[in-house]
Every structure is written in structure tokens, then in C-alpha cells.
């Protein structure tokens, strides 16, 4: 509906109707409010795990065997113990991080042990995934307390074949 105002000099002025615009604007506002979701930031751990073909045969001699981290769970899926190789670490992820750091050392250059080392996670079937993620976090690096930067320790992480249920 247009409202026409006839001005003194005979000119006709068309006043802009705000109603349709406000209608649309409110509809948009309602749409955005309804679809709004507070999302917490997410991040990824990137792992590359190709399937080994049976024809690959024995691994190359120059390739070091992976460091095995065994995680045992109780019947409820809670973490019972962590083993790195034959060494028991209780159920402390800080101990796991310290052990991995001690093993890898501070050399981070290309071709260093840190660059080539690989960790294989061997978990009980019923272990909660939360503990797996905490283990991956402990193995893959730490935050430098001085600089606040992430220091990567081991990038190559893989899973052992799943254990029976």
C-alpha cells in the first residue's frame, strides 16, 4: 500500500514502505536464531594407515619396529594399565608422555629418530575411546610451558589389529 503525499507545489512524493522490509528482516532474524548452535572448536589428529597387502612380505631391515603401547581396560572400559613395550606405566598419561620423550630425545630434525619412529597402539576392545585419544595426545607431543607452543614428538601413530571382543 503506497501512501501518497501531495506537496504544496503539486509534486507527488512516494514514501518508502518499511513494512515488507521489516517483515523479511524479522523472518531472517528468526531463521538465524533458530539455526544458531554454539559449537565448540574441534581439531584433528591425522594418521595415515594404509592396508598392508599380503604380498609386501617382510619389512625392510632399515625400518625400525614400531614402539608398542599396550592399553588394558577393566570390564567397564576404564583404563587399567599402560605398557610401553615391557615397561608398565600404571595408568598415567604423564608417565607415558615422559617415557616417549625420554626415548625419542630432543633431536627433531629430518631423518632423526623422532622423524622415523612410529607408535602402535594396542588397546583392549572395550577400552573407552576417550583413553585412546588421551594416549594419542600424550604420544604426539606436548605444550612447551615457556612458549606455549605445541612441540611434536611422534607423528606416526597407528593401531594394532583390533583385539577380540
Amino acid at each position: 500500500m503506497k501512501v501518497r503525499h501531495v506537496q504544496r507545489h503539486g509534486e507527488e512524493k512516494i514514501e518508502l514502505q518499511m513494512t515488507p522490509m521489516i517483515d523479511i528482516v524479522f523472518l531472517m532474524l528468526i531463521f538465524f536464531i533458530m539455526t544458531f548452535k554454539i559449537a565448540s572448536p574441534e581439531g584433528d589428529f591425522s594418521i595415515k594407515m594404509p592396508r598392508h597387502a599380503p604380498s609386501e612380505g617382510l619389512p625392510d631391515d632399515s625400518q625400525l619396529p614400531p614402539i608398542t603401547v599396550r592399553m588394558r581396560a577393566d570390564s567397564e572400559g576404564r583404563l587399567k594399565s599402560i605398557w610401553m613395550g615391557q615397561r608398565g606405566l600404571g595408568n598415567s598419561f604423564d608417565a607415558l608422555r615422559s617415557e616417549v620423550r625420554a626415548l625419542i630425545g630432543d633431536d627433531r630434525g629430518p631423518g632423526s629418530f623422532a622423524d622415523t619412529a612410529e607408535v602402535e597402539l594396542d588397546c583392549d576392545y572395550q577400552l573407552k575411546y576417550e583413553y585412546v585419544m588421551r594416549a594419542i595426545t600424550a604420544i604426539s607431543g606436548y605444550i612447551d610451558p615457556d612458549t606455549g607452543r605445541v612441540i611434536t614428538v611422534i607423528e606416526k601413530i597407528k593401531f594394532a589389529p583390533p583385539r577380540g571382543e
Binding site: 589428529f45 594418521i47 594404509p50
Partner: protein, 165 residues
């Protein structure tokens, strides 16, 4: 935002009706300004890419998980609930139904781009913190058997805690 002035340039528009009756109409300008600002805010914060994030999944926390530098070329997001059900493409099904779905996805991927191979695709795994590690490994194994190699294990970013060195 430009202010919309009334015909007479005032903040309060007084319309005169016949026989001396008058009607005081409020100025719409502040309301429209505010509404546009709200719309702008919601448009900025809305993220349609999160459409494949089920609210049923409670991701495990990790202080080292970081968003990828660039989005993967072809990503398939698989979500694993605590009841060991897979959510993929808006459908929920048990893990045994996954191979058939992945084969279809693989076919689609190959048909949409001839240059792309299965190993270029990234599988993003959003598993619930309470899901069983064995089930996550089963999902990974099914993906490996289909030919996928790259995996991103997704975690919720958490503020860094003081770690013991």
C-alpha cells in the same frame, strides 16, 4: 548504518489526521539498526559445515588437536555413537552396514573426478568418548579394506593444562 529520517526530519513523527486528531508514531530507525546488527552477527557465526556434526556425539578432549591447515580435498565424516552405531549421510546404522555405504561413496568419488584416487580421500572419524576402542578400530579397518588410507581422528579442543615434563 545510515539513519532513516522521517519525512519531517524528526525522531518522532507526528501524523495529522482530519479534524485535528494526531497520532504519534515511534521512530523505527534504532530497531532496524539493531535488527540488522543481529542478522549480521548470526550470519557471521553460522556454520553450515557443521551440519554433519551430530549433537549426540560427545567428543573426547585433547589439548593438542588442531584444525587442519586446509580442508581435505574429499572428506567423509563417520560418526560413532556410544551405542556403537554409525551416523553417516544423515542415516544411522550398525557397523556391519558400513562397507556397502563406503563402496557407494567410493564410487561417487571416483566418478566425480577421474584424477582423484581412493587414497586421496580423508575419513574423519568423530567417535564418542565412551565408544569402545575396538569399534573405532573396526570402523578404521573397514575403511582400510575399502581402500581409504588417510584418517583424521577428531577431538574437542581443550585449553592446555600444565603438563609434567
Amino acid at each position: 548504518m545510515a539513519a532513516i529520517t522521517t519525512e519531517r526530519g524528526g525522531r518522532l513523527m507526528r501524523k495529522r489526521f482530519g479534524k485535528g486528531a494526531s497520532f504519534a508514531g515511534g521512530d523505527m530507525t534504532p530497531m532496524i539498526d539493531m535488527t540488522f546488527q543481529l542478522i549480521a552477527f548470526f550470519m557471521v557465526v553460522i556454520n553450515f559445515a557443521e551440519a554433519d556434526q551430530s549433537e549426540r556425539i560427545r567428543l573426547p578432549d585433547s589439548e593438542l588437536a588442531k584444525p587442519p591447515d586446509s580442508p581435505p580435498d574429499f572428506a567423509i565424516t563417520l560418526q560413532l555413537t556410544r551405542d556403537n552405531m554409525v551416523i553417516f549421510g544423515g542415516e544411522e546404522f550398525p557397523i556391519r552396514g558400513l562397507p556397502r555405504k563406503l563402496l557407494v561413496e567410493k564410487q561417487v568419488m571416483i566418478e566425480t573426478s577421474k584424477e582423484r584416487t581412493v587414497s586421496d580421500a580423508t575419513i574423519i572419524i568423530r567417535a564418542d568418548a565412551d565408544a569402545q576402542a575396538g569399534k573405532v578400530q573396526e570402523v578404521i579397518k573397514i575403511c582400510q579394506d575399502t581402500g581409504f588410507e588417510k584418517f583424521h581422528l577428531r577431538a574437542k579442543q581443550k585449553a592446555a593444562e600444565k603438563q609434567k615434563g
